[in-house]
Amino acid sequence: MPDDRTKRITLTSIRQLWEAGTRREFLRVAALGGGAVLLPTMFAACGNDNGNPSEPPPSEGVTLDLSSDPGVLNYAYALEQLEAAYYTQVAQAFYAGITPEEQLVLTDIMGHEVIHRDFLAGVLGSAKIPDLAVDFAGANVDFGSRFSVLSTAKVFEDGGVAAYNGAGKLLKDVNNLLVAGKIVSVEARHAAAIRDLLRPGTRDFAGDDVVDPSGLDQAIDAGFLLQDSALGQFITTPINVIS
C-alpha cells in the first residue's frame, strides 16, 4: 500500500514542526493517517501554532486520549493486541528446529498476552478501541526464522516494559496503576526469557542496553512508542495520540 496512508515523516527535532514546510507535510500525512513522530509535546506545538485549527482529524483510525485513564488503558490494550497477534501467529507454525524450551516459553507468552488483551478489553468495556490492523510480513518478520521470531519478540517485550513504565505516571486511579504494575512485571519476565534464548547465559536478560548505570529499566513516553519505534511499525491502523 505505497500511498500516503503508509508514509512516514521523520522529524529529527521538535523545532522542525515550526518550519512551515515540515509542518504542512506533518499535518497532511497525519490527516491521512500516516505514521509520524507524534510526541505529545509536538501536538501541543501544533495546537499553539496558528496555522489551521480546522485541519480535519484522521478520517479513520484510533484516537488515544492519554489525559484519561481509559485512554491510557487503551494504549496498553493496543500493545497487548499487537503482542497477542504476534505470538498467535508464531504459535500457528513454529519455526523449524525449535527446542522444547523455546516452544514452552513462546507458548506461555502467547497465552499471557492473549489474557492481557482480553482482560483489558473486559475492563474497558464499551470504552475500548476497535481491533487494530497489524502487519508483520510488511515489517519483514520471517516466522520461519528463529532469529527473526525471537528478535521481534524482544522488541515487543522490551517495548512493552518501556511503555508501561512510561505510562504509569499518566494513570490517575491507583487501582489502574496497580493493574498496570501486575502486567508490566510479567512483560519484564518475558523480556528476560526471550533475551536469554537469543544470547543464552549472558548478561542480556537485563543487559546494559536496557538497564542504565543507575539500575533503571527503560521508560518511553506514551505515543512515541506506537508512532516511531521499531514496535510501532507493525501497526497499520492510524493511531492519533493526544495528551
Binding site: 473486559g122 512510561g166 528476560a192 547465559g201 548478561r203
Partner: protein, 273 residues
C-alpha cells in the same frame, strides 16, 4: 534524625522486645514446620508496621514517599549485601558460567539501586536509613547459604520475586510524584528481569504459576502466597485462560503486590538489627 538509625531502630522498645523474643523462637525452632514459620510471620505484622518511619506511624495513614524509599532502600541493602557476600564466598566457585554471569549482573544492579536511593532520598529532603545487620542464614534456617549453590540460588529467587512484589505494592504510595513513580517502576521491572533469569537458571519458568514457590524452602512460601489471585480491578480473569492454559496461565500473566508489612515480615527473617 541522626545518620545511623536503621529501619528497625524506629520500632518502639516494647515491640523490639517482642522481635528479639521472636528471633529466639525461630532459633529454637530451626526445624519448625511451615505452619509455625507462617505463624511467626503473622505475629511479626505489628513489628513491621512499627518499622515504618515515625512520621508515618504518627499519621496512621499511607506512608510518605520518603518512608517508601527508605523501605525500598532496606530491601536493596539486603539484596546488595546478599549478592556481594555470595560472590566473595565459596559458593561463587561452584556456580556455572551462566549462573555466575547472572549473579554478577544482578549484583551490579542491586548496588546501583542502593546508590540511586541514597542519592534520591536526600534530594527529596529525607534521611536515608542505615544499612541493617543481616543474617542470611535466617538464624540457622539456611546454614549453607553461601556454600551451597542450591540454597544460594533459592534465596536469590526469593529475594527477587519479593522485590517485584514489594515495589508493585508501593507504586500507589509514590504516585503523587511522577518522577519517583517512574523510577520505582523502572527498578520494579529490573527486579522482574532478575527474577525471571534466576528462576530459569533453577529450572523454573520465568513466571509464577499459582502460588508455587518452585521448590523453595517452606520459609519462603510467604513470598508466593497470594500469587494465585485471578481477580484484578474487580474482574475475575480466570475464564480468560480457557483456550490458553487455563486458570494457571492467568495466574502467570499477573504478578501480585505485597504490602510493606508483608515484605518486612519476610525481610525481617534476615535482619538482626
Amino acid at each position: 534524625m541522626d545518620q545511623t538509625h536503621s529501619i528497625l531502630d524506629t520500632v518502639e522498645p516494647d515491640v523490639m522486645a517482642r522481635v528479639v523474643s521472636r528471633r529466639g523462637a525461630i532459633r529454637q525452632g530451626s526445624g519448625a514446620s511451615s505452619a509455625v514459620i507462617a505463624g511467626l510471620a503473622m505475629a511479626s505484622v505489628p513489628v513491621a508496621i512499627a518499622a515504618l518511619a515515625r512520621d508515618a506511624y504518627a499519621q496512621a495513614t499511607a506512608p510518605s514517599i520518603i518512608d517508601v524509599l527508605n523501605f525500598a532502600l532496606t530491601l536493596e541493602y539486603l539484596e546488595d549485601e546478599f549478592y556481594r557476600t555470595g560472590l566473595a564466598a565459596s559458593v561463587a566457585a561452584t556456580l556455572l558460567p551462566p549462573e555466575l554471569t547472572a549473579i554478577e549482573q544482578v549484583s551490579k544492579h542491586e548496588a546501583a539501586h542502593v546508590q540511586f536511593l541514597l542519592n534520591t532520598i536526600p534530594a527529596l529532603g529525607g534521611t536515608p536509613v542505615a544499612k541493617p545487620t543481616f543474617d542470611f542464614t535466617a538464624a540457622g534456617a539456611f546454614p549453607d547459604v553461601f556454600s551451597n549453590k542450591a540454597t544460594f540460588l533459592a534465596l536469590a529467587q526469593a529475594f527477587e520475586d519479593t522485590g517485584v512484589r514489594a515495589y508493585k505494592g508501593q507504586a500507589g504510595n509514590v504516585a503523587s510524584n511522577a518522577a519517583v513513580l517512574t523510577a520505582a517502576l523502572q527498578i520494579h521491572s529490573v527486579e522482574a528481569r532478575h527474577a525471571s533469569q534466576i528462576r530459569r537458571l533453577r529450572g523454573q519458568k520465568g513466571w509464577i504459576t499459582n502460588n508455587d514457590s518452585g521448590g523453595l524452602p517452606p520459609q519462603a512460601q510467604a513470598v508466593y502466597d497470594g500469587e494465585e489471585n485471578t481477580v484484578h480491578a474487580g474482574v475475575d480473569a480466570a475464564p480468560l485462560g480457557a483456550n490458553v492454559g487455563g486458570a494457571p496461565a492467568v495466574t502467570e500473566a499477573f504478578d501480585e503486590p505485597l504490602t510493606m508489612e508483608q515484605v518486612l515480615a519476610i525481610a525481617g527473617l534476615f535482619i538482626t538489627g
